[in-house]
Symmetry: C2
C-alpha cells in the first residue's frame, strides 16, 4: 500500500499526450503494489494503470518486466498490456522516474479463496507458463537457493528474538535445501510469475480475470511457481492445509500443461524452498521495520509453520496428486 | 493518504447489491482523504467513490455531511452526490463501519493554481454559499475562535521547539483575535466548506469540475471560507502573496454573491483567524507525529508566515479589492 511520488496535473497531461488514449480525466493514487507508485488513470477513452517505478525496482529489469507483459498479453494471458507511446516505446519518464501506462483489468482479488478459485488459478498459471516459452529475454531468480544464505546472514543474529531456536532450525534446513536443490535446468523451466499471492489475482463473476504485479517474474522451475501458490492459496487461516484446494489447483494446471514425473517428485522440496524464501524476506522485514511504521510487516512465522508442514510431506499425494500423473 | 480498512470481495458484493448500480467490477483503495478509507468502485454502470468512515469522523455528523452533499448536488453544485440504497438510505454499513457510495467526479486538482483557477474557485464558492441557504440542518464550527485556546494549551509548552518565541506570539495574537472576533451572526453566515485547499478542488479543461471532502463543513461566516482560500490558493511557494489571484477569486465570488461592507472590512481579521486555526492544528500534529511515521506532518510555520502577512494588512485593498465593493 503506497503512493510515494506526486504527479502534477501539468506533467501528467504532457505525459499522456504522448499516447493515443485521449486527455486525462482523473488520476488517483491507488493502494496497490508496495514497490511502486500506482495510479488509476481515466482518460477520454477508458481506464488505465499508470506506474512510476520507485527505487526498489531495478531499472535494468524494466524492459524484461514490460516486455514480458506485452508478450503474455499478446498470447491472451489476462495480464496488464503495456501501451506504446507515439515513438513506440512502452517505458517513459514522469516526475523524474521511469513510468509506464498499462491496461486496466476488471475484477477483485479473493479474500477467501475457494477450491474453484484455485482451479481457475491452476489453469491460468499453466497457460502463462506455456505462453512464456518463446519470450526471448530472461532474468535470473534473485530470490532462489543461491541467495538464501546471504539473506539468512542478515537476520541470523536476531532471529531467535522471533522464535527461540529459529537460527539453528534455519541453518539446518538451508543446508539440506542447498544439498538437494536441483541444478539450473534440472527441472522443466521457463518464465515464472514468482509472487502469485491472492492479491495479485483478480476474479470477475467467479472467473479469473487478471494476473498482475509481475515484478518478481524471472526464469526458474515451473514448479517453483506452483509451490508459491500451494503456500499462498491452500492453507486455511487456522494454519491447516486444504488438500482439496491443492488438488483442484494442480489437476487444473496438469490439464493444460503436463507435469513430468520429476516435477511431481520435486514438489515437496520446492514447497520447502519457497517457504524458506518467504520466511527469510519476511524475517528481514520483521527485524528491520520501525515499530511505529504505518506498514505492519508480515509475520515470518506463518512461513515457518508452512515449512514445517512440507518437511513432513513424503510425496505429492499430500498435495492431492498421485506420484505418477 | 490512507486506506485503513480492508473490504472483502464478498462483503462488497453484498453491500453494492443494495444499490441500483449493477455488480462491482473493481474496487481499489485510493490515496484521497486522510480521515477515511476511500475506494474507487467501478460497477457495470459506472464509477463511484465508496467511503468507509473511520474514527476521526464523528458518526453523529454523518447525516449533516451526507445530507449537505445531497442538497448541494441537487442545486447543481459540482460535489459528490450520495446514492440512496433500496431502502432509500444514503448511509449504510460495511466492514463494521458507516459507509456511503457517492458519485465519481472527473478532474484533477491543480498543483500550481493560476489566477484562472482562482476565479473559477471564487464563482464556485459563491454558488455553494447561496445553494446552502435553505439546507435545514446545521453544524457548529468546532475549529473556530472558541476552540483555539484549548488547542494552543495542548502545544504551548513545546511550541518554542518549533520556533523560539512562538508561544508568546500565539498567546498575544490569540488574545487579540478573541477580543475582536465577531459574535455569531455578526457577519453574513451559512454553510461553509471549511477546507477548500487545492487538493479538494478538481478542474477539467480549465473549468472547475468538482468540490470534494466536505468533512469540515459547518455553519459559520461566509468570509471564513474565503479567508481559507486566500491562504491556500494565493500564496506562492516562495511565501509571497499573489494579489492578482486574490483579486480574481474575490471579484468572481462577488459577481455571484455580493459582499457586504462589513464582510469586506472583516477580511483581514478572518484571514488572521484561519491562519491561527491551521497553525494550531498543524502545530499539534507536528509535535505529536512520530519522527519515522510514513506521513510527514505539514510545517506549521507556513501558517505562521501567512498570519504575519495578514497582521500587516490594513484593509481589503491588500487582497485586491476596494473597501466599498
Amino acid at each position: 500500500m503506497a503512493v510515494y511520488t506526486e504527479v502534477s496535473d501539468d506533467d501528467l497531461t504532457a505525459f499522456v499526450a504522448g499516447y493515443d488514449i485521449g486527455a486525462p480525466r482523473s488520476c488517483k493514487g491507488i493502494a496497490e503494489g508496495v514497490e511502486n507508485s500506482n495510479f488509476l488513470l481515466t482518460t477520454e477513452t477508458g481506464s488505465f494503470i499508470l506506474t512510476l517505478y520507485e527505487k526498489r525496482v531495478n531499472t535494468d529489469d524494466l524492459p524484461f518486466f514490460l516486455g514480458l507483459l506485452a508478450h503474455l498479453a499478446d498470447k491472451d494471458v489476462p495480464c496488464p498490456t503495456p501501451l506504446a507511446n507515439a515513438t513506440n516505446e512502452i517505458l517513459g519518464r514522469l516526475s523524474d522516474r521511469p513510468a509506464a501506462i498499462v491496461s486496466f483489468l476488471d475484477g477483485m482479488w479473493p479474500r477467501r479463496p475457494t477450491p474453484e478459485h484455485c482451479a481457475e488459478l491452476g489453469r491460468a498459471i499453466a497457460h502463462m507458463h506455456l505462453a512464456g516459452a518463446d519470450f526471448e529475454m530472461s532474468r535470473a531468480n534473485n530470490l532462489s537457493v543461491g541467495q538464501w544464505r546471504g539473506l539468512l546472514d542478515q537476520s541470523r543474529d536476531r532471529s531467535d528474538e522471533v522464535k527461540p531456536g529459529l537460527a539453528a532450525f534455519l541453518d539446518e534446513e538451508l543446508s539440506a535445501l542447498e544439498a538437494d536443490w536441483p541444478a539450473a535446468g534440472g527441472l522443466p523451466s521457463g518464465v515464472i510469475h514468482g509472487d502469485l499471492f491472492p492479491d495479485n489475482v483478480f476474479f470477475q463473476d467467479g472467473k479469473l480475470s487478471g494476473l498482475i504485479d509481475f515484478y518478481f517474474a524471472c526464469n526458474d522451475f515451473f514448479v517453483y511457481d506452483l509451490a508459491i501458490c500451494l503456500n499462498a492459496w491452500c492453507f486455511e487461516p487456522d494454519g491447516s492445509f486444504n488438500i482439496t484446494k491443492a488438488r483442484r489447483m494442480l489437476t487444473a494446471y496438469n490439464k493444460v500443461r503436463d507435469f513430468s514425473t520429476d516435477e511431481l517428485a520435486a514438489l515437496p522440496l520446492m514447497a520447502r524452498g519457497v517457504s524458506m524464501r518467504f520466511l527469510l524476506t519476511r524475517l528481514y522485514d520483521w527485524l528491520n521495520t520501525p515499530k511505529d511504521a504505518l506498514v505492519t510487516p508480515k509475520n515470518p512465522l506463518e512461513y515457518y509453520e508452512k515449512l514445517r508442514f512440507h518437511q513432513g510431506v513424503d510425496g505429492p499425494g499430500a498435495y492431492g496428486l498421485e506420484a505418477t500423473p
